[in-house]
């Protein structure tokens, strides 16, 4: 395995018989998945997703891959292949197409329907190319063959990319449910055929590589869902991902069996379920779905609401129900079913919702007290099957934090793959496949690009640091009127504090330090207001740390009087 801490170093020119792989996202994080393949001067992009921020990235809406590696090379991009329709695989496409609008977007029927709906909101009409399992498509020097894979959204695809320099099999996100609702299983026959032909590089989903055994079947949730519908005395509120068509299919089936009506609540849920129904992915019994308003006329035990917000998103319907900030007042007799996974990092938000709903008297059924969720990703047992069926020449674990990538690599090595042919690398690390062997040859920029309040890339790491300081220490503005002649204060400075957790008058004790700083500046003949502001800020910061062990963000204002 490779050095996980390489220097940023531009890679050498790719040999003509070489294939280059650079992930601009998805290595070292769960999200913003994006891989760029290069061969004979052309580039093929696989997925372009977003990453959701953590608590140390306040005010950030989503995080994009850094496209600067593609700068000056947009014309070489022959297409972007989307493996499936989840945000962490398609959410970056609008920003990609703003760089070059006519890049062909390749994907399955449902995936293209979802990205097209998303792009419509951005007023972008993409050039699409719909494919299905079994299809082959030439994109410049890349010959792509698409393979059915099973995941927590229908119509997922893996892609086998053949080039003159060798072949790459990229799984996308997948698992191996042997009894999926749509009978569309991950096509191990195709994997076996590729294995016989020879796979030079296997790029494989790592999300669940740490989890031993096999991921349970989606259908195994039916008993727990059935129990909710059989026993709930009043309304049932189900919260799930707006893209989890099969989970919602199970809920619809249970509702129909128990003579309940169903209303979808929340913009993305309504939109996606309409798409899924129109395209035939969601099968809806006639008369089952009603408008949310029509529910008022039904007795509670005939009502089912299906909404978003299962991750505790504060603006989503479920969170607002928990805060009684929603027209639907959940209370005694109601049952809330959280039919989705808990994405790491959302524990507190989800727990707040469970507590809020429970306080109002609702019964909450969730993965902590019932079998109401299975993962969408292959566990270690399934991954080992893949390694043994495919027997790839080289392996590059993708989609996961470092721990997941490393666990996946360990599985590959246990099946007999030479450790020197297993590359565990970060985003931006350049991996070249030449003469059938992978090697790390450099590193390119692959930092976080923050979308914050609609603006892309304006929030920098420095500004996030400022935001964290502001949130932990607050801020104090120091307004100093300075005599332009003498460089001295004409009156005591004003102090305006916010979020400081202390009386702003405290800072009056720092005035001698400010006076001293100004006197020093005057002694050195310095009168530039900007320079005086820097010195005042430094003096106040030092004083606050020395006297109070505090480090507020100091905003200095010098006005010459």
């Amino acid at each position: 395995m490779s050095n996980p801490h390489p220097e940023l170093k531009a890679p050498p020119k790719l040999p003509r018989d070489g294939l280059r792989v650079v992930a601009l996202g998805g290595l070292g994080e769960v999200g913003r998945n994006m891989a760029v393949l290069e061969h004979r001067g052309k580039l093929l992009v696989i997925d372009c997703g977003v990453l959701f921020p953590e608590e140390h990235q306040p005010g950030v809406d989503v995080i994009l891959p850094d496209f600067s590696y593609l700068k000056d090379r947009w014309q070489d991009v022959v297409g972007v292949v989307l493996t499936h329709g989840h945000e962490d695989h398609i959410g970056g496409v609008p920003y990609l197409l703003k760089e070059r609008g006519d890049i062909p977007v390749i994907g399955s029927r449902l995936t293209l329907a979802l990205i097209t709906a998303k792009l419509k909101e951005h007023r972008i009409k993409p050039r699409t190319n719909q494919v299905a399992e079994g299809d082959r498509l030439s994109l410049g020097p890349f010959d792509c063959e698409f393979v059915a894979v099973n995941h927590s959204i229908p119509d997922g695809l893996a892609v086998m990319v053949r080039t003159a320099a060798g072949s790459v099999l990229h799984t996308g996100d997948f698992k191996m449910d042997q009894f999926p609702l749509d009978d569309r299983i991950t096509d191990l026959r195709a994997f076996a055929r590729f294995g016989e032909e020879g796979v030079d590089l296997f790029m494989v989903d790592s999300t669940n590589a740490e989890v031993p055994g096999f991921t349970m079947a989606e259908k195994d949730l039916a008993p727990a869902i059935e129990t909710v519908f059989r026993t709930a005395p009043g309304r049932i509120v189900v919260s799930s991902f707006a893209s989890h068509v099969h989970r919602i299919q199970q809920v619809l089936d249970a509702a129909a069996a128990h003579k309940r009506k169903v209303a979808f609540v929340g913009r993305s849920m309504v939109r996606n379920m309409k798409i899924a129904q129109d395209l035939g992915y969601l099968k809806v019994p006639r008369g089952l779905i009603v408008d949310a308003k029509a529910l008022d006329d039904l007795p509670p035990n005939r009502v089912t609401l299906v909404c978003t917000g299962s991750q505790g998103e504060p603006m989503a319907a479920l969170s607002r129900m928990a805060n009684r900030d929603h027209q639907i007042h959940v209370g005694e007799g109601d049952t809330v079913l959280l039919a989705s996974s808990l994405i790491p990092g959302n524990e507190n938000a989800v727990s707040r919702i469970i507590n809020g709903l429970t306080r109002w008297g609702a019964k909450v059924v969730h993965q902590g007290n019932a079998k109401v969720h299975v993962s969408g990703h292959a566990s270690a047992g399934e991954l080992v099957y893949c390694y043994n069926i495919i027997q790839p020449r080289n392996v590059m674990p993708v989609h996961g934090e470092w721990r997941h990538l490393r666990a996946n690599a360990d599985l590959a090595i246990r099946t007999g793959i030479d450790p020197s042919r297993v590359v565990v690398v970060d985003d931006g690390v350049v991996v070249d496949l030449v003469k059938g062997k992978v090697a790390v040859t450099g590193k390119v920029r692959a930092g976080y690009v923050y979308v914050s309040g609609g603006a892309v890339g304006d929030v920098t790491e420095d500004e996030l640091r400022d935001r964290l300081t502001l949130s932990q220490q607050g801020t104090v503005t120091v307004v100093a009127l300075v005599d332009a002649e003498t460089g001295r204060l004409t009156e005591p400075p004003d102090f305006l504090a916010r979020g400081l957790g202390t009386d702003e008058k405290m800072f009056e004790a720092a005035i001698p330090d400010i006076e001293k700083a100004l006197a020093e500046a005057a002694g050195q003949g310095i009168g530039d207001p900007h320079e005086l502001e820097q010195r005042i800020a430094r003096a106040v910061s030092r004083w606050a740390m020395r006297r109070h062990r505090r480090n507020p963000l100091v905003v200095p204002v010098v006005i010459e009087a």
Copy 2:
């Protein structure tokens, strides 16, 4: 069960034959546990802990119970009983004793040793009263009998409080490990005896009430710990709570069996282990413990480090090792064992550590991939045993979020206790036991008191809201020089932005709105600088929201020229 949303209403005078219970913490949260019992004008406090902040409470060190209910009544407090030595039960005692220093502190030998060491750091010498299981102690009108309970720290006690108005059995934190390392099991014989005598109010730990079945035995971790010590090729770094004496005992035993030396790293770990060893709770084979510096002279496969930081605390040894910011460079060949639970809310921080250590090449063993932790709290199965053995007349679930309290109440009701005798209430709700039956009679202040940067209670909810706005939206200071005569700007205002994620020049487009606000004020004859500042802030905020959907914290400065 009671109304979970009562109005804040002062309770009536307690009848002479009544017993009042008010929890000032621990109901609706996991932490700052504190119950106040009142009878015949005297008060008995059970536990006084801290709560650790969540991500929406930035810059907060710990959260205390609000003591204002005890204001003017400190002289009535006959003692504070500490059930065990965890921070969420003893961390508030220094602040309590700052209110009245001579309140007797009652607890077991280890508990008193831990609180005395903590108080020493606050330069407080407490008046202590050491008790053990089986002891009885009269504290004013409260006759206390102490009972052994098993928990994730040795020497835990439950307390049976008998008064003329009835009896209260408070479990503290407990579980029912039938094979604990110290053979000190939860004394169900005593519980049975109390049941025969009659327990009027059972206050019972709810932390694990949602978890079905029985909590595994501490000794059942031995195989996983043994596997680590048998197979680790290099150093072993174990991270655990500094108070988990039995977990660390198991690590010491494994180290001794495999001829490794052990060094403790981290101030609280060194301090607590010395206390535990001195008092005989930790049994240390001669020559096993060495100074951390002495480890350099040993081969890696003879080294064990035991440190704090298992919750991802950024300043603790483990986090610094993950960032290579610690003298001990963990890397290839090293094994890190996280031998503790993951407290909800710390998932991201712990995951960052696992990823960091894995990137450096270490193998990380944690509760996600090995059986290296058991909980310290009774699961649903154990709680049901208690209800059936004790058959209490009334039940008040304590220690937990609302979901835990409610789950515990449901268990009580399933064992046959009348729902009207099960009170699920929030902090501050007044519960009176009169003539053998509980009733909610009022509510007192029980808000959060924040300790932030050493200051107690200075950070308010408003200021936390400011901090969150600052972190998500940043701040802009507007400096306006205003002509005292005309009320108009003498020059364009200055804008100083921090954490805004955008160019501060953007705000220049808001100048017309500022001019308009000033003109309006002048028209109304308003010249007070403070009022002008409010108007400028409002104008800029509205402009930012209207034009940019942003809501930065605006700090206005008006200077009359």
